[in-house]
Symmetry: C2
Subunit: 448 residues, 2 copies
C-alpha cells in the first residue's frame, strides 16, 4: 500500500536496493513479470473497476463544486474495454526490444584488455503524473522493462484507481520474482516535495502533465527531468510554399488536436505570399473555429479579405494557446522566421512549408528544436508515430534524450573494462606500450 510521506526517503532507499537486484535479472524475468501483471489486471477486473467507481463518485462531487472539469472526470473513467486495452499495452511493452545490455562500443585496448560501453538501467525513476489511471500502468511497465525501480506519484482524483492498479502490479511483480521495492506508490503533494529533494537517491524524474505542473518540477529539483513543459510549435509558410499543402498542413496542425503539445501554436507567413496565401490559410482555419490573432500586416490583409481576426500582443508570441487561437505574423523571409522561432519558441517542433531547397536546408539546420520538419504537420512529433514502440515522453532538453523518447530514455551507459592484470605504468613514459584500439565484436560476458 502507499506510503506515508515521512517514509519516502526510506522507500527510495529500498527502491535503490531493488534496482541493484533488478540490474542482474534477465530480460526474460522482467518480461515475464509484465505479462503476469497484464493477466492479473484482467483476472482482478472487478477490484480495479470498483476502485475506479469510488474515484468517479468523488469526482462527480468535485465537478459539482467546480473544482474539476467534466472532461477531466471523463478521462478518469475506466471500464472493461479500457482495462483490456491497458492490459494489452502492458503486455506489448514486454514484447518491445530490450533496451538494456546493448553494446554501443567494443574496443581491444591491448591484448587481454577489452573495453565495452553498454546500456544499463538508470536505477530509480520517479514518475509524477496527473489523474488519468492509464498512466500508472504505462510508466510502471516501461520502467520495469528497462530494469529500473519506479516510484509512482499520481493525481489525487485517481487515488483509488491508482491504488488498485498498483496493488495488482506490485503483487504480480513480486510473485514473478522481482525484488520488493521495485515499484512504490506514494501519495499527496508533500510526497512530491520529498521526491524532488532526493537527488542521489532518485536518478530521473518523468513528469506527465500540463505546463505549470512540469515547469514546477523542472524548477524545483536537482534531479534530471525527462520531459517538456511547453510546446510552442511554429509553422513557417515560405514564399515558395505549395498553397494546398500550406492550407492543409496548417489546418491539421492547429485544429486536429488543439491541446496537444505538438500542435501548431504560432503561424509565420512570408510577406511575398501573404497577400495571396494567408487569406486561404486563414479562411480554412476560421471555418473550423480558430480565432486568429494577427500582427498589423496580417490584420490588414485579412481585413481587406473580410476575414475576422484579433490583434496580437507581444505576449502572444510566447503564449501556448491550448484552444483554437492562433497568433499569426507576416515575416520578411526564412531568416526572420528562424530568428523568431529561436527567440520565442520552446525548442519542441517546428515546420517549414516550402518548395525552395536552400530555404528548407537553412530552416532545418538553423532552427534549434528537438524536431524540425519540412512539408509536414507538427502533429507527427510523437514516439508512436516515429516508430519508437513506446513513448516515455517528449524531451526539449538537449542533454540525454531529445524529442520523442522511447525506452532508450530510461537507460544510461556504463563502461566495462576487462583486463588480465594490466597496470597503467606500463603504458606511460619512455618505454610505454602502445594501445591497439582495435574494434572487436561479441559480448563482454564471454571473456569472464
Amino acid at each position: 500500500m502507499p506510503l506515508a510521506n515521512d517514509a519516502i526517503a526510506e522507500s527510495a532507499a529500498e527502491a535503490r536496493r531493488a534496482s541493484q537486484s533488478l540490474s542482474k535479472l534477465s530480460r526474460e524475468a522482467r518480461d515475464r513479470s509484465l505479462k503476469s501483471a497484464a493477466v492479473a489486471m484482467l483476472l482482478r477486473k472487478d477490484e480495479i473497476l470498483s476502485a475506479n467507481k469510488k474515484d468517479l463518485e468523488s469526482g462527480l462531487t468535485l465537478v459539482k463544486e467546480g473544482r474539476i472539469s467534466r472532461p477531466m472526470l471523463d478521462r478518469l473513467k475506466l471500464d472493461a474495454i479500457k482495462l483490456a486495452e491497458i492490459s494489452r499495452m502492458v503486455e506489448s511493452v514486454a514484447s518491445l526490444e530490450d533496451p538494456v545490455g546493448k553494446v554501443l562500443l567494443s574496443i581491444e585496448m591491448d591484448e587481454g584488455l577489452r573495453l565495452y560501453k553498454v546500456t544499463v538501467p538508470f536505477g530509480v525513476v520517479a514518475a509524477i503524473f496527473e489523474s488519468r489511471p492509464d498512466v500508472l500502468p504505462q510508466i510502471a511497465s516501461l520502467c520495469i522493462k528497462s530494469g529500473n525501480s519506479v516510484i509512482l506519484k499520481g493525481g489525487s482524483e485517481a487515488k483509488e484507481s491508482n491504488r488498485a492498479i498498483f496493488r495488482v502490479m506490485e503483487e504480480s511483480f513480486i510473485e514473478a520474482g522481482l525484488p520488493k521495492g521495485c515499484i512504490t506508490l506514494v501519495e499527496g503533494r508533500s510526497a512530491v516535495e520529498a521526491l524532488l529533494k532526493l537527488d542521489g537517491q532518485v536518478d530521473l524524474i518523468v513528469p506527465r502533465g500540463g505546463y505549470d505542473f512540469v515547469r514546477y518540477i523542472q524548477c524545483n529539483t536537482r534531479i534530471p527531468v525527462l520531459g517538456h513543459s511547453s510546446g510552442l510549435c511554429h509553422i513557417y509558410v515560405d514564399g515558395s510554399a505549395e498553397p494546398d499543402k500550406a492550407v492543409e498542413i496548417c489546418h491539421d496542425a492547429r485544429v486536429q488536436y488543439p491541446a496537444a503539445c505538438n500542435s501548431m501554436k504560432i503561424l509565420l507567413v512570408d510577406s511575398s505570399v501573404s497577400e495571396s496565401l494567408l487569406p486561404k490559410i486563414a479562411v480554412r482555419l476560421v471555418e473550423s473555429g480558430v480565432v486568429i490573432k494577427g500582427c498589423e500586416k496580417t490584420l490588414e490583409i485579412l481585413g481587406r479579405n473580410g476575414i475576422p481576426a484579433k490583434h496580437a500582443s507581444e505576449a502572444d508570441w510566447s503564449t501556448e494557446y491550448l484552444e483554437l487561437v492562433l497568433p499569426t505574423k507576416v515575416v520578411s523571409g526564412v531568416d526572420e522566421a528562424i530568428d523568431h522561432i529561436n527567440r520565442y519558441g520552446s525548442k519542441h517542433t517546428d515546420s517549414i512549408i516550402s518548395e525552395d531547397t536552400a530555404n528548407v536546408r537553412r530552416f532545418l539546420t538553423m532552427v534549434d528544436s528537438s524536431t524540425v520538419m519540412h512539408n509536414a504537420s507538427t502533429r507527427f512529433s510523437d514516439g508512436y508515430r516515429y516508430g519508437l514502440g513506446a513513448e516515455v515522453g517528449i524531451s526539449t532538453n538537449k542533454v540525454h534524450a531529445r524529442g520523442p523518447v522511447g525506452l532508450e530514455g530510461l537507460v544510461t551507459t556504463k563502461y566495462i573494462l576487462l583486463g588480465s592484470g594490466q597496470v597503467v605504468s606500463d603504458y606511460v613514459g619512455k618505454c610505454a606500450k602502445p594501445f591497439t584500439h582495435r574494434k572487436i565484436v561479441g559480448s563482454w560476458e564471454k571473456w569472464l
Copy 2:
C-alpha cells in the same frame, strides 16, 4: 579582447547567433579554422611567450606571498616546446572524425515521409577552468570542431597567457571565415556567477578543476554540467584474486599518479584472503610511501605483520585523498564490497580483482559506476586510453554522457522529418493510413 562582466549576457547572445551560423558551416570550414589557428600559434610564438612571462612574474610574487604553490607556478609555464605541442594538439583535433551530422536513425514513416535523427552541436558551451594555459586551446578546439560557440573563463593566474592564446585563436578563426562571437573570453569571478545564471543562453558547462571548484559549479546552476567533482574510486580484492595481479594493480592504482581523479582512493579486501594477501599488498604500498588507514581488522592483521597503519574513521570512507593515503577495509565478500561502493563511492571508476566468474559478473553488473573494471588498474579510465581521440571530460552524471567523454559529449541530437504535405488526420481514426516504419539508408539532404 575579454569582456567586462556586465557585457556577459550580451556576449552570450552573440555566441548564440554565432552558433546558428556555425551550425551551417561544413566540416572543412571548421577544420580549416583550427589548422590556421595551429599555424598562427607558431608564427606568433613571441607574443604568446612574452604574455606567459608576465604571468610567471606575477605568479612568483604569489608564490612568495604563499598564495599559490610552486607546482602550480610550474604548471603555468610555457616554452617553445610546449607551445609546439599545443599547436600540434589543435591540429590533431581538426583531423578527428566529425561528430556533427551523424545519422543515428533513419526511418520511412510512410511514402514520402522520412524521419532522421542526426547529431547537431549543442549551441553555446561555456568552459570554466583553472590555470593551466593549455586548457584554453584544447577546449576551444574541441568546441569549434563540434560546431559550438565557446565562452571561456580561465584562472586569473594565467590571465595574460590566456589573453594572448585567445587573441591568436579568435583572429585565426575570424580570418578563416568563422562567425564573430564563436569564441569569447571572459574574466573575473563575477563572470562565473554571470555565466551560471545564463540558462537558456548557455547550453552546457564544462568545468575543469578540483573538487570544490566543480562542486560549486554543479550546485549553482540550472545549466547542464559535463564533468565530475569527485573520483572516489575503489578496488575490491576478491577471495579468488591472483596475488601478483592484486599487488601490482593496487600499487599502480594508488601510486602511479596519486592526485588523478581515477586513482584508487579506497581499498576493500575480502576477509578470506585478508590474512594472506593484505600484508603483501600493504608492504608494496608502504614501501612507496603510502599511509594506510585501516579498519579494525586491517590494523590487527597489519600490526601482526609489523606493517605500520593508522586508524580509519567513518569519514575516511568518503574522503578523496589526493596524496598517498589509503583507507583500507576488510569486507565479508563481494556483496559487502558492492554495497560499500554504491553507498560511499562517487560513481566514477571501480575495479574488482578476482578469478571467480560469478563474483566478477555480480560486481560488474551491480556496481553503479561510470566505469567498472575487472583485473585492471582504475587509472585506465581516461578518454585517450579508451581511444576516444580527445577527452572533453569524465562525467559521473547518468544523463547525456557518462564516463570518459570524447567529442560526442559536445553534440546533441535533432529529429528531421521530411514530408510531402502529410497531415496527421489521415493517420488517425477509422480509416487511418498505417505507418510503414521501414528502415532506410542515406542522407536526408538528398531528398531536398
